[in-house]
Amino acid sequence: MNPTIDYHAILPELILSGTLVVVLVVDVFLRPPRKWLAMPLSFAGVLAAFVATLTLIGADRTTFGGSYHVDPFAVLFKVFFLSVAMIVLFLSLRYFREGRYYQGEYYFLLLSSVLGCVMMPSSRDLLMLFISLELVSAPAFLIAAFRKNDPRSNEAGLKFFLIGVLSSAVMLYGMSLIYGVTGSTNLYEIGKALAGHLGGQETLALAAILFVVTGFAFKVSAFPFQFWAPDTYEGAPVPVTAFLASASKAAGFTGLLQLMFVAFIHQAAFWGPVFAAFSIFTMSIGNLVALQQRQAVRLLAYSSIAQAGYMLLPFALAGHGVDKEAFAAAVTYILIYAIMNLGAFAVVVAVSRKSSALLIADFAGLMRNAPLLALAMTIFMVSLAGVPPTAGFWGKFFVFRAGIDAGGIGIALAVVMVVNSVISLFYYLAIPRQMILVEGPEEPMRSPALVTFVAALAAAAVIAVFVYPDLIAHFPPLSTLVGS
């Protein structure tokens, strides 16, 4: 009577869940000076989950009656999310230890959010997808407000929460309509149902898709639902912002990828143009506003909005015969973006120890004070702008090529993207200019070893991916959900 559960397939999730509980319980028994021990503990758990995920490479397993798939796509993203989690843990240690926060609870909440991320790419069921997304967001609302004494952090948490809840409600309503039309919550079943004759319910189905997309557009901060992002990013603790801008955002995109390319692919002619508009506006608005920013985190926030625009671009190409290529381009872009963005935030974390205001002017003279960090930051900025010799170039290149191959509207989109990339150079290069050309106060900066390590690692990865694009471009085409 009991269906067998494939425990191996959900091993990473099980390990993470166990770690969560252990972190929480152990924290109760730690005395205040030792609270930071929650971090190594969390790290061990994430590492174990990471190893467990590695054993699943090449697997293609289904469990829970088809609602949970562990296929190459899922494994790729699980590996990615767990890596991001480890990096964010590295960034968090010093920050939270020195800032006298509730450390055990922070790591617990962070890992809950990671758990949601890890479940996301496997969820092939509307219900599962929604709950994973909530599991990503709900703890994130709370850790965004973790700097309790700072009104900006309160604002960050509150805005994030209100927007998040609103978008969830819209999305859930859309999902319920989709269930009403198709009679299933399984993404593949929905795909089949929507491919067939809908008997006068097309309009409702399209509206439902629009609702769901709107919900996700909030989550990935696409225009016109982007306004919460800068305030939230600025107010939240910097490691949390790093997490939000990389893992949380990528989780939103993985959900979107699965929905769009599995469940709604037959309606691509309808939602493709919607995404085209999303993409153009998101990247343009993000870039134009970013030009005026004086604060590093706000700048990165607007940059992340603009980057979301690039990531949305491949969605607009669906249904033009290049689905596979577009899908792979989106996945590649998400992965590359996360690496360079995390690296940039690592440097910001290091600088935040010196000046918590984090103005761009605070980066002055970094080249002299902390050459390694400054060099890494330069690489990240160049990469975010998409200029060789960095990984960001390949990310943009794949998207660009998919656009050209698609023809028609794709070419127009590709052109807009190139124009935007050129604009973005102005503000991305403002930081390296500040670090290298402007004289700053001469005081050698001591950055925590872990943070420096993360920055160096990310910088090395960005360069390495440029030299050997196969490193990262090899996996996404294999792990596509399209055409299977």
Binding site: N2, P3, I5, I10, E13, S17, L20, L24, F64, G65, S67, Y68, Y102, E105, F108, L109, S112, S113, L115, G116, M119, D125, L127, M128, I131, S132, E134, L135, A138, P139, F141, L142, I143, A145, F146, K148, N149, G157, V181, G200, Q201, T203, L204, A205, A207
Partner: protein, 166 residues
């Protein structure tokens, strides 16, 4: 119309009135009470549709616990005692948005299902079936939800807790 349809119309009307009064009420406690009416009607509609378990759980959880918690929160913070009121200046805009959404949804749903030409047979689920479905097919989301709740609980405690000064 069948008795069931009459029941539905009555419940839906009462629920709608409750919902409208909920947003127009000037006193938050009254608003919470109108919310009770609306939620109870939603639960009753589930009952009319033959979803006994879901219906009663809706009433038990929403009416019996969540609104009470609202009231509790209101009283702990600043529920106006007696006949004080609160309001903001966004009524016109809110009305506009609400009407637009309503019109859109009414159009969409009647366009898809039409008025009354589509009859579906009610499926009576027993509580046992609901339980089996949750704990077998949907056990993973179920557990994930428990993590969401745990995280929300702990996060809320952390955020609400007063800092200890040394």
């Amino acid at each position: 119309m069948t008795g069931q349809e009459y029941a539905f119309v009555v419940l839906a009307l009462v629920g709608t009135v409750g919902a409208v009064r909920l947003v127009t009420a000037k006193n938050v406690v009254h608003a919470a009470l109108y919310l009770v009416v609306t939620l109870a009607m939603v639960g009753s509609i589930y009952l009319v549709l033959g979803a006994e378990f879901v219906g009663w759980v809706q009433i038990l959880i929403y009416v019996g616990a969540i609104v009470i918690l609202f009231l509790f929160g209101l009283m702990l913070t600043k529920a106006p005692i007696g006949r004080e009121s609160l309001d903001n200046q966004q009524r016109g805009l809110a009305l506009l948005v609400a009407l637009a959404v309503l019109a859109g949804l009414v159009f969409l749903i009647q366009d898809a299902f039409h008025w009354g030409d589509r009859k579906m047979n009610l499926v009576h689920n027993t509580t046992g079936e609901v339980g089996r479905s949750i704990f077998q097919h949907y056990v993973l989301p179920f557990e994930a939800v428990s993590f969401i709740l745990l995280a929300a609980l702990i996060g809320a405690v952390v955020l609400a807790r007063r800092e200890e000064r040394e």
